[in-house]
Amino acid sequence: MIWQFDLPILTLIVICGAFAILVKDLLGSAIIFGAYSFLMCLLWTEMGAVDVAFTEAAVGAGVSTVLFFAAVHRTSREVRSRKSGRKLYKGLGLLASGILGGILFYASGDFPGWADPASPAATHLSPHFITRTIAETSVPNIVTSVLADYRGFDTMFETAVVFTAGLAVLILLRIGGCRTAGPVWQTAAAIRPAYGDSIIRFVTRQLTPFIQLFALYVVAHGHHSPGGGFQGGVILGASFILLAISYDLNMAMNRINEKAALLLANSGLLLYAGIGLLCLLLGANFLDYSILQRILPGVDGVAARSHAMLGVEIGVAVTVMAIVMLIYNNLVSNGTYEKGL
């Protein structure tokens, strides 16, 4: 713990948290919340949890801020609250938060010290992961091997959570339900000229391929460095959102339309679960990748685990990308896909 570093960050986090609630302008609140996420990201990095920091940067500070913007854009910037009984509710809420804070504070006195090597979290399971990961999975990034293999079943359902969120937004917002019959979306609608800034458009257009290339790198290189399916998928999705913002919604939807996004979302998660099922069909337990050595030429059980992990990370990335786009498109256009930000 470097206190000169932590103290200002923690102070700023508290300030940001308080102001995100107190500010009356919701757009301002969303921006403050983005700053809050960025500070959290610094804190994670300082703790050595670089993968978490990466996710926080991509999801917390990046995409969710844009989603807040889209939601505020479609609803209202002001906070309107009911007058009656307001004081009572506020008092009760404050009381509940106070009690919760109190007991959390009480418990924290019992915690092991910061980064204590003798703490239970550092001595119970971690030594196994640290010493055995290479031998058991041949993946140098321990976080990836825990995420995609040791606890790969959790990660499959975390991806399912993302998938569920996308379906939930669709069922609630999409006007008249989802289009499934006929041509999926009007093809090649002309990019509306004469509004927007040509400099922004030019820069976005030049930047998009690089962003997407970086996203693919993040997915593929998750075995060796921080990153993986979630982060890469979010960055891919964000590149399309960037197009949608700098041009308009049609521009992005002509690249990947609603039906394609739904298909991608399904197939990504299906890839993950399908790899698990394949293991089952080959006679091992669900998600026991080592059995895949039977069908992968020239690899042993350990290398099979590493390859399968790449497969599931790609599945995660595809689903996350498609769902991030679906959620943004529906939020920003109120489910009509007619006009973006």
Partner: protein, 490 residues
């Protein structure tokens, strides 16, 4: 043929793959395929659940290692008598509710069928996954899935459903966060997430304040999710304004699965010795349960909308089960476990009947029920079976669990709990007699028989029949299954 060792995972992944199949079929083929595929997936999952329970009864608890990793390194599924039974109940209820949902979904959201059924299956996946897992964090992940799907399935209802669903979203998220926070506390103190492993490590730490706080946070989180009085405020509106098909699924299952999780945390993560002897909170919690029963019953009495009336009964029933579990004796816990099954089935029966009635007459007010017995005799016959079970009349299932709960209350000396149980029976009798009075004795405007469609009637009659069958065989259920589910040393 399928290796019997793989049955536990099939229970969960059949509905998961079913969700993809339904979603892709709705996207690429036709919406006609959505419901049949849903029913097929649930039937497959139900078959696996039954087969697994049989294995547990024959050979004792089963452990399944996901990814082939030994626990506590990897995630483990543990099926014992308690969750084996709950898994069967979940699949049966979900299957009957799915068949019954055909007409009401077609009427209420014709455009959204291809999104509704994947979410439905994901919700069932979530509930099954929460029940079957032996890992405290895996439980949270599945909790998120079931919660997210529920918010969507509730809010897709009529206008007020959006607001009710939003309220539920806020409170449900708080509940889930508290559970996560509690699990985090346990992880900091032990370094493990596996329930069996935690149960080994925790006894040395029982004096630690952090473990205590972890236990409190998990309990309050689960109570919020199960709508335990006074944390119940989100439930009545969200269950009332949800589409009928959704209410038929979530009203019987969500609260019951939460009760199961509470039992699991109390007896598998912690021990009865810690929960009842080390902490001295059992008595106040039974009092709180008493308050839940009385408040739920009285609020049900005040309703003019019969679907809302049923939702307040759920609040009272949650009080039964929480109270029974915290009576800290064998009768009480047996009653609580038996009541998980019985209450799931009788709530299913009543909500299926309500859905059929609302589908036919289009209203939810008690006054709309005039002459309903003459117009929908079969539906009302099934409804009355559910009602008798709710009141606790033998040989319906409701009687037997209430009997165990009363015995437990007497043994523990919690007379207020016994009184509340009897009071709630009385109130239920009044409530349902009121419906008989309106529906049977008041003359209908047109007396022709207009029975509910077969797709609603058949699941409803099956649910009503199951109440009587479970009632008659409840002695066997207790001796072959529940006896082993009650923790030792009580």
């Amino acid at each position: 043929m399928i290796d019997p060792g793989q049955l536990p995972i099939l229970i969960v992944i059949i509905p998961l793959f079913g969700a993809f199949a339904v979603s892709l079929a709705g996207c690429c083929l036709s919406k006609r395929w959505c419901l049949p595929l849903t029913v097929l997936a649930l039937a497959g999952s139900g078959w696996a659940a039954f087969a697994t329970l049989n294995q547990v009864i024959a050979r004792g608890p089963i452990s399944y290692r996901l990814g082939g990793w030994p626990p506590p390194m990897g995630i483990e599924y543990v099926i014992d008598h308690l969750n084996g039974l709950v898994l069967v109940v979940i699949t049966v209820v979900a299957l009957l509710a799915a068949i019954s949902s055909k007409r009401s979904v077609e009427v209420e959201m014709p455009n959204r069928i291809n999104l509704y059924y994947p979410l439905y299956l994901l919700l069932v996946t979530g509930l099954l996954g929460m029940t079957i897992t032996g890992d405290a964090f895996n439980l949270y992940v599945l909790l998120e899935i079931s919660a997210l799907t529920t918010y969507a399935l509730i809010a897709v209802g009529r206008v007020r459903a959006l607001h009710a669903g939003f309220n539920y979203l806020i409170l449900g998220t708080i509940g889930a966060s508290l559970y996560l926070l509690g699990t985090g506390h346990l992880y900091i103190m032990t370094g493990s997430l596996n329930m069996a492993d935690l149960a080994v490590i925790l006894p040395d730490l029982y004096s630690s304040p952090a473990v205590l706080v972890g236990f409190i946070l998990i309990m309050v989180g689960i109570w919020t999710k199960m709508a335990f009085f006074p944390l119940h405020t989100w439930l009545p509106n969200s269950y009332t304004y949800a589409p009928d098909a959704t209410s038929c699924l979530i009203a019987p299952l969500m609260t019951k699965v939460s009760v199961y999780i509470m039992l699991r945390v109390m007896f598998s993560l912690f021990t009865p010795a810690y929960v009842f002897d080390h902490l001295t909170v059992a008595a106040p919690i039974v009092w709180l349960a008493t308050a839940a029963i009385i408040a739920g019953s009285l609020l049900a009495l005040a309703q003019k909308d019969f679907k809302k009336m049923l939702t307040y009964l759920i609040v009272a029933e949650v009080g039964y089960m929480v109270g029974g579990a915290w009576l800290a004796n064998r009768y009480g816990i047996t009653g609580a476990i038996l009541h998980i099954i019985n209450d799931a089935l009788m709530t299913l029966c009543l909500f299926l009947a309500a859905a059929a009635i609302i589908h036919k007459i289009g209203g939810r007010k008690l006054q709309d029920l005039k002459g309903i017995f003459h117009r929908m005799p079969l539906t009302m016959a099934a409804f009355m079976v559910g009602a008798l079970s709710m009141i606790g009349v033998p040989p319906t299932a409701g009687f037997f669990s209430k009997w165990y709960l009363i015995l437990g209350g007497i043994q523990a000396g919690h007379w207020e709990f016994v009184a509340a149980l009897l009071f709630s029976s009385l109130v239920n009798a009044v409530l349902f007699f009121r419906i008989v009075e309106i529906g049977f004795f008041e003359k209908p405007e047109n007396g022709e028989i207009a029975e509910a469609p077969l797709s609603m009637l058949v699941p409803l009659l099956l649910a009503a029949a199951s109440l009587i069958v479970v009632g008659i065989y409840s002695g066997d259920i207790v001796t072959t299954v529940i006896r082993h589910a009650v923790p030792e040393g009580i």
